[in-house]
């Protein structure tokens, strides 16, 4: 029974990693941009929510709802003013600019909030649990997983059921011809990054309420997100969820054997998939 419990915890943890990964996947899918600051942006979102909670005394969920439009505008502006300039055939500018951004965000947060561990208090929810058959499941992990599913359903609806989604896919296919349809690729990219930042904020809410965080943990989140995307296969959001679950289960199983092996086990799972299925498990057109 302890193994079933471990695996269930791992699956739910995978929901958190899928939330980390969805924004990364969205931006890469539309503009082939790999944002090395992605993890730091999640941490930035967590600090924003924390500030709203402590300064305004808001409930974390309400604080996240306030943070979402702020983060959307930040992402939209960042893409329009900075990142659009880096797009092109050369991979160096986007990588190095976002790497610089990662360092800037980390050290800005260190300056503003110190290196101390922080936590967003979710009150009684933190310890609440419900029984699912023979095992007991934490409400927060369950909410995280359900949010991940909801985000993926929402993004898929946006992609396949709206004019904006069509414009995203068309621009990703062929920005020049998209221009002939009246689409401004730069604005579409800004919109996509804005939406990715909304997802980042949702991820930040759960990052901040489920465990301690500090300004330096961003890169590790980028890495988990990246692993989930690669395991799932580029272009498939459900694949990304599966990738997150695989990392999550590998980590909880590893931790069950030896607590020091938790993180390593996730990386090993990623490397195994990379060795045998380098295009991922659910790649489109693969």
């Amino acid at each position: 029974m302890i193994w079933v419990d471990t695996i269930v915890q791992g699956i739910l943890l995978g929901g958190l990693y899928a939330l980390f990964a969805a924004g990364l996947s969205l931006v890469f899918g539309i503009m082939r941009l790999v944002n090395l600051a992605h993890g730091d942006l999640i941490v930035l979102g967590a600090f924003l929510i924390l500030t709203l909670v402590t300064a305004l005394g808001l409930n974390p969920l309400l604080a996240a709802l306030v943070a979402i439009p702020l983060m959307f505008v930040l992402g939209w502006g960042l893409q329009l003013v900075v990142l659009n300039r880096t797009l092109g055939d050369d991979i160096l500018p986007p990588l190095l600019v976002t790497f610089g951004l990662s360092i800037v965000i980390q050290n800005g947060l260190l300056q503003g909030f110190s290196a101390d561990s922080q936590r967003i208090s979710a009150g009684a929810l933190e310890t609440a649990s419900i029984a699912l058959g023979p095992i007991s499941v934490g409400v927060m992990p369950l909410l995280t997983f359900l949010s991940a599913v909801a985000v993926i359903v929402g993004l898929n609806q946006l992609f396949y059921r709206t004019a904006l989604g069509r414009a995203f896919r068309a621009t990703s296919d062929d920005p020049v011809t998209a221009g002939l349809m009246g689409i401004e690729p730069n604005r579409i990219f800004a919109m996509a990054t804005g939406i990715a930042f909304v997802v980042v904020t949702i991820a930040a809410l759960y990052l901040g309420t489920r465990a301690n965080f500090d300004p330096t943990i961003g890169p590790a989140r980028l890495i988990y997100a990246f692993e989930a995307v690669i395991i799932g296969g580029l272009g498939s959001l459900w694949g990304t969820l599966a990738g997150g679950v695989i990392i999550g289960v590998a980590q909880t199983l590893g931790a069950a054997i030896n607590p020091e092996w938790q993180i390593l086990a996730g990386h090993v799972a990623f490397l195994v998939v990379l060795a045998f299925r380098p295009r991922g498990l659910f790649a489109k057109g693969g």
Partner: protein, 361 residues
């Protein structure tokens, strides 16, 4: 012109480069002689500069010339350093004798690493190298004999008995620790010269033409990939060797290791990237300029802690956006001066057929 010979010839040398070559030789001689004239703290500063230069040249070869944008070079710094510690502590090696072995160890690790990361395209390669570095850090943290997660130190006095240290101690009439600093400084200087020399040689060799075309026409060659995979593999393994040996040397000097420090992305990759980007990516000269700027900034702002890195990050972003060829690129764009000429120019000859009399004249 006493000899009007009009043969075609490929020339890479320029007047500026010839003048520079003379100055460079003098500078190298001065650098080797430095311990005779300057204080121990200056030697330590110079050691730091040289180690960053070696890392920067290696990363520049990878990212600037071969298009392999790695953010995981700390994997090889740490691997080399741990290999040296293992050889010294477990096998009783002299630390200096352990250096080349540490480099080979890092190069050997680069082969399976390449198997994984070369499966990832362009931008994803970058994060892939970061994952590998994390895996290395976590695995070496499991090595209990070498202190596990908290790390360990070299046995007391090890560096005082290294090859050359007693001799230097006698020669300079200094304490063993100061003598060890001088020896590691000379080794860093030698490694820096070897690294720059190797890259210069590589870029001027036939193989290097492929890489140089990557440099000269950044976008075209990088997207086409000149004899890509083989060349990239050679560069990847070679830089792992240099980076690993450098890592071992740094930790001979500090004599204390921990996984977090040895595999630090900030210390071994972030600084290095900023040095190369600010100086001028894809040029041999760029890292030299970048290191000067970096060293000055560090002395000015290092006390400000995270402000310092924040400013460095911002400068990196601004340079990448507005002067993607860095300070050296701006300079060479205005003057056309190249100190390490690696661009081939066709000189002499005539577009019309030259007569035999001319050629033998």
């Amino acid at each position: 012109m006493s000899k009007p010979a009009q043969k075609w010839a490929v020339q890479t040398r320029t007047t500026a480069s010839t003048v520079f070559a003379v100055i460079a030789v003098l500078a190298v001689v001065a650098a080797f002689a430095a311990p005779f004239f300057v204080s121990r703290s200056v030697i330590q500063d110079l050691f730091f500069i040289l180690t960053m230069l070696v890392l920067a040249q290696n990363w520049n070869l990878l990212a600037g010339f071969a298009g392999l944008v790695s953010v995981g070079q700390q994997a090889f710094v740490g691997a080399g350093a741990y290999a040296m510690f293992a050889l010294v502590i477990l096998a009783g090696f002299d630390p200096i004798m352990a250096l080349p072995v540490a480099g080979i160890f890092a190069a050997l690790l680069a082969v399976p690493t390449a198997f994984f990361v070369f499966r990832l395209d362009g931008a994803y390669f970058a994060i892939g190298t970061w994952v590998i570095a994390e895996v290395f850090r976590l695995v070496f943290a499991q090595w209990k004999v070498l202190g596990g997660g908290t790390g360990t130190s070299l046995p007391r006095g090890t560096t005082h008995e290294m090859v050359g240290v007693p001799l230097v101690k006698e020669l300079f009439d200094v304490k063993s620790s100061a003598a060890a600093d001088i020896v590691t400084y000379w080794l860093a200087l030698g490694l820096a010269l070897a690294t720059v020399g190797f890259i210069y040689w590589l870029l001027r060799s036939k193989r290097g033409i492929g890489l140089a075309s990557v440099r000269d026409n950044l976008q075209a060659a990088r997207s086409v990939g000149v004899d890509a995979s083989r060349l990239k593999m050679i560069v990847y393994v070679a830089t792992a060797f240099g980076t690993g040996m450098l890592g071992a040397l740094v930790y001979v000097q500090t004599a204390r290791i921990s996984p977090d420090a040895a595999f630090s992305v900030t210390d071994w990759t972030a600084y290095v990237i900023f040095i190369v980007v600010i100086g001028g990516i894809g040029t041999l000269e760029g890292p030299f300029i970048g290191i000067l700027v970096f060293f000055i900034l560090q002395n000015l702002f290092a006390d400000y802690g995270s402000w310092y890195l924040l400013i460095l990050g911002l400068i990196g972003i601004v340079v990448m956006l507005f002067a993607p060829r860095g300070l050296w690129g701006l300079f060479t764009g205005k003057t056309g001066i190249q100190l390490f000429p690696i661009r081939r120019r066709l000189i002499g000859g005539q577009l019309t057929t030259s007569s035999r009399e001319d050629t033998h004249g």
